[in-house]
């Protein structure tokens, strides 16, 4: 069983809002590898079935990680799906969590990756 303290979650939320939501990212999910939702933030405009998204994201990430091992890679450095209007980016946080960002055309992937790396560096010590 993993317990997430309210004050830590507040800190993490603040970091994610500052680094990502304020950048223009539509939705940020911090989940565990089992598909449980730890933190769910959005810009107020976007609404998804976050639980289904989290379950699929965890499964997707897990599947892709296994594929990496099969081809002799430890892991892939980029997991990203590009849509016509919305795209989705995955990033590992430590060994047990995933940071998922859903963003539109206003945000470039390259810059998002910088911001995600920055956010993860800040929250890694808290988890």
């Amino acid at each position: 069983m993993v317990v997430f303290d309210g004050s830590i979650l507040d800190l993490i939320e603040r970091i994610l809002v500052e680094e990502l939501i304020n950048l223009g990212v539509g939705s940020v999910l911090l989940i565990d590898m089992a598909g449980n939702v730890i933190i769910n933030l959005d810009d107020g405009k976007t609404k998804y079935d976050v639980y289904a998204l989290a379950a699929l994201a965890a499964g997707n990430f897990g599947a892709v990680s296994e594929m990496a091992k099969i081809i002799g890679e430890k892991e892939f450095s980029l997991l990203f799906h590009k849509g016509e209007k919305e795209s989705i980016h995955f990033s590992k946080v430590g060994e047990g969590q995933l940071l998922i960002t859903v963003f539109g055309k206003d945000v470039t992937l390259g810059f998002l990756r910088l911001k995600v790396a920055e956010a993860i560096e800040k929250i890694q010590g808290l988890i």
């Binding site: 069983m1 997430f4 303290d5």
Partner: protein, 200 residues
């Protein structure tokens, strides 16, 4: 692994329906979803093949109320039963808190039941979980086929082959008609929540 959010006062737990291919795991969830659709906030999400076989998993979130001031949110998953999807089953089992093993009562499928149960034990072992300790319920599905003259394994046989050592609760059921589907679900919820309660 169950997740406790002290900020939201919420507990999330994972229950997986396991078993051989075409055993009735997805049918269980579909029955539950259809029966309680109006009361369930979430949708049944399925990743299937074109032939309607589970490819990755089915997923159904369920809120079952509060316990000790905490909202209990359960995530129900099924795994793909076909032998070739062993790795996928492992992925879906990650973080599991409770298991329903859906056995196929048809005589022809008995060997597959045994192989699948062994597979479950191995996968749980890899995930540092013990099949003898995790909340577990057995469901002997497709009992309705007896009316159609299809040979079914007697309950004694199923019990001897699958439950002799485990000694866990079991239900004779039919995911098609709904017989004991909800009872199976209630039992696994009770067992899972009880195990969480001890740790809350």
């Amino acid at each position: 692994m169950a997740l406790i959010n002290t900020k939201k006062k919420e507990v999330q737990a994972k229950i997986v329906y396991y078993g051989p291919g075409r055993g009735g795991k997805t049918s269980n969830l579909e029955y539950i979803y259809n029966k309680f659709q109006k009361r369930i906030k979430g949708k049944l999400t399925s990743v299937k093949t074109h032939g309607d076989r589970t490819l990755f998993f089915d997923f159904l979130p369920l809120d079952i109320g509060t316990l000790k001031g905490y909202k209990i949110k359960l995530q129900f998953y099924t795994v793909p039963g076909q032998i070739k999807y062993k790795n996928t089953r492992m992925l879906v089992l990650r973080g599991v808190d409770g298991v329903v093993f859906v056995a196929d009562s048809m005589v022809l499928r008995q060997k597959l039941n045994i192989v699948s149960l062994k597979d479950l034990q191995e996968n749980l072992d890899t995930l540092d979980k013990n099949i003898f300790k995790i909340p577990l319920v057995l469901q002997y599905n497709k009992r309705d086929l007896a009316k159609q003259g299809i040979p079914l394994s007697p309950i004694e046989t199923l019990e001897r082959d699958l439950n002799r050592q485990l000694k866990v609760p079991f239900f004779e059921a039919s995911a098609l008609t709904g017989e004991n589907v909800v009872e199976t679900m209630k039992k696994i919820i009770t067992l899972t929540v009880a195990s969480l309660q001890n740790r809350l």
